[in-house]
């Protein structure tokens, strides 16, 4: 499928807009002191258990540096992780990749949250500890993102930090939540996770996933 207008997180135009958005977004009535933030893009911190099959320390350091420079690309993803959103009329499509399944899932969460809120510098105030099980890896991805949507709709909170560990038939996820209302809005909020062109696969370079969300 051609992605003729891919927008990479960290690309100059996108970064400009995020910074611009932080300066200029009209304040919501319930947005207490959320407007002043340092002028640097920070992705939410993602922790996942290291997989001994992949050397991650050096790669992670390089990835953070590249991310700051807006250089993250999937073709350079061997041993690295990341996410991007790709065009789809009316909806949100997120792709993520990582050496391990859990890190790939965490990157997908990160991509979804970054699509509608600027989580720069946000700190999780309370954890949500959940276990998700499904027959297929892509269905674990759906359950995880549905949890994000559910918490947003019912509690008005979003994960700014994610810890994932494998369990029998699924994952254990600890989502470190922050108040969504205190963060600048940068896009339409996701309301559901679709099964359309859903994929989560392991390849020679690690794991990749793609998912479409209704906004």
């Amino acid at each position: 499928m051609p992605h003729e207008s891919e927008q990479w997180p960290g690309e100059a135009g996108d970064r400009d807009r995020q910074e611009h958005s932080r300066r200029q977004n009209p304040a919501r009535p319930d947005q207490a002191g959320g407007g002043v933030r340092e002028n640097v893009f920070h992705a939410p911190r993602v922790r996942s258990r290291p997989d001994p099959r992949y050397p991650t320390r050096g790669a992670a350091t390089i990835q953070r540096a590249r991310e700051r420079q807006g250089l993250m690309r999937p073709d350079a993803a061997a041993g690295r992780s990341g996410y991007r959103t790709v065009p789809h009329t009316a909806d949100l499509r997120v792709e993520a990749w990582a050496p391990t399944r859990e890190e790939c899932l965490a990157q997908a969460v990160r991509g979804v949250c970054a699509s509608f809120l600027d989580v720069t510098g946000a700190v999780g105030t309370h954890p949500r500890d959940i276990v998700l099980r499904a027959d297929r890896d892509e269905d674990v991805l759906v359950l995880l993102l549905e949890e994000v949507v559910y918490r947003l709709d019912t509690q008005g909170e979003v994960p700014v930090d994610v810890e994932l560990a494998p369990v029998d038939g699924g994952v254990r996820a600890v989502l470190h939540m922050a108040e969504a209302g205190s963060l600048p809005v940068t896009g339409a909020a996701p309301k559901a996770v679709t099964l359309h062109d859903l994929a989560m696969v392991r390849g020679p370079q690690g794991w990749t996933c793609s998912v479409t969300l209704d906004v």
Partner: protein, 474 residues
């Protein structure tokens, strides 16, 4: 699947039937309105829908068709429920009974002009919108929510949120029969409890408009519209509750496909025979969510009435309330035989012709009002149902997107768009600049062309053109 598109008339194309399609596809559009973007799979989705078990006549696409997931947005499909015809939650959409209602104000645009700023400020302050919980009506718990899901807009009116005449001007009288709240899961209830009376986000809005042009004086008068008149258009749906209902039942049907011997090209097309247990369960839950959406729009109507009363001393009368994400069991003649059909309208509006028994008496001669919202910078249309419609009495539901949200953000800045709109006399109250940019007028098809193609395709006829004066964006 390679799509073979044959032009039948300047306003109608046919997608030739090929395996596994059971019927052809029919696209009501001019060549210019056909999905153009590279990678847009809308026509492929029209063909995929044509493969659903029990589908009859054709898989239809309205002039505003664009790429969805499973079904295209702007798609219509009817299945014969006595011949294994299926119900597909994806053919309704996540936002069950998302729809539009139009209110006619007792004031014209010139007298309103000096009061417009105050009106917009009140609307901006009082209409809940954006992400998360927060609605105008705090329900006491599941029990009260279940009562609301059974009675819909009628429940809101019974509790003082509206007047009885409102219900006469709602599709189904504001209450879709057959609601079964026991099929609405707890997570859907959790999401719905605190969102009754809220716009939500994305393309949802409350817009103050003026009648710019009337094409049919007699029908416009029947609808309560005249040139220069101020109107309010509200576009929203069933919020998190409807989305959760869809998600939950898609999963159930995804698991039951093998049991019914159904194979699909897209998991989001998950379906089950309409008369099966999962089919009936979904229809009951869908009706409950539809009633939630109708109550939601009723609550927002009351917020608009309050703002107009305070700022302009004017009243608002409901012109009509239509849903454009629905499935209904309807009787239609197919090859001269009356059949019970499950008619899916995903991003399409029901369009009853004049004389239809379900129309209220004062609209019987005119036909059903059809509301076609455009964009905040262009126009919207009021149309009326016609007898020549062969798409199971369905019509367009809006302009239809042509840009992804990415493209909109690349090309448009919210602040500049806001200035542009204000300089053209449109007051804007956005939830955020970025969300505003995503909904830029250029991100949509030309609504004038969509309305013209809708009329030329004999789906509906033009009644009035409305232009925006002020927009409260979700």
């Amino acid at each position: 699947m390679d799509i073979t598109l044959v032009q039948e008339t300047p306003f109608r194309f046919r997608i030739e039937r090929q395996d596994p399609m059971r019927v052809p596809g029919v696209v009501f559009a001019t060549r210019e309105l056909l999905p153009q973007a590279t990678g847009d799979k809308a026509l492929e989705q029209v063909a995929n829908v044509a493969a659903l078990p029990g589908i009859v006549r054709a898989s239809y696409a309205m002039p505003d068709v664009h790429w969805g997931y499973g079904f295209p947005i702007g798609g219509v499909a009817a299945t014969d429920i006595d011949a294994g015809g299926v119900i597909s939650p994806g053919g309704v959409g996540f936002d069950i009974s998302c729809g539009v209602r139009l209110l006619a104000a007792g004031i014209d645009r010139d007298p309103l002009a000096p009061r417009m700023r105050r009106l917009m400020d009140i609307l901006g302050d009082t209409v809940p919108r954006g992400l998360g919980p927060g609605g105008l009506w705090k329900l006491s718990g599941r029990r009260q929510l279940e009562e609301l899901m059974v009675a819909g807009a009628a429940y809101a009116v019974e509790h003082g949120r509206g007047v009885p005449r409102d219900l006469e001007r709602c599709e189904d009288g504001g209450t879709l029969a057959g609601a079964d709240p026991s099929q609405v899961g707890q997570r859907a209830v959790d999401r719905g409890l605190r969102q009754v009376g809220s716009l939500g986000s994305a393309n949802h809005f409350l817009e103050v408009q003026a009648v710019d042009r009337v094409y049919d004086d007699r029908t416009a008068a029947a609808f309560g519209l005249h040139p220069g008149q101020v109107c309010v258009m509200i576009h929203c749906g069933s919020r998190g509750l409807g989305h959760q209902v869809c998600s939950d039942h898609v999963k159930v049907m995804d698991q039951s496909l093998r049991a019914y011997g159904i194979q699909l090209p897209d998991r989001q097309l998950a379906c089950a025979p309409a008369v099966s247990v999962p089919g009936r369960d979904y229809l009951g839950a869908m009706a409950a969510a539809a009633n939630y959406a109708r109550a939601n729009r009723q609550l927002l109507t009351e917020a608009a009435r309050h703002a107009f009363a305070v700022a302009a001393g004017a009243e608002l009368d409901l012109v009509y309330d239509v849903s454009h994400n629905m499935a209904k069991i309807e009787t239609h003649d197919v090859d001269g035989v009356p059949l019970q059909l499950c008619v899916h309208r995903k991003g399409a509006t029901r369009a009853l012709p004049p004389g239809h028994r379900e129309l209220p008496d004062d609209l019987a001669e005119a036909g059903q009002p059809i509301l076609v919202p455009g964009t905040m910078g262009t126009a919207s249309y009021v149309m009326a149902g016609t007898a020549g419609n062969d798409a199971f009495w369905s019509s367009a539901h809006g302009a239809g997107r042509v840009w992804s949200r990415h493209q909109a953000l690349r090309r448009v800045r919210g602040e500049e768009l806001c200035e542009q709109l204000e300089s053209h006399g449109v007051a804007v109250r956005p939830a955020s600049w970025r969300a505003l940019a995503e909904e830029a007028p250029d991100a949509y098809k030309d609504v004038d062309a969509v309305a013209a193609a809708t009329e030329a395709g004999q789906l509906a006829r033009l009644v009035a053109r409305l232009v925006p004066l002020g927009v409260v964006k979700g």
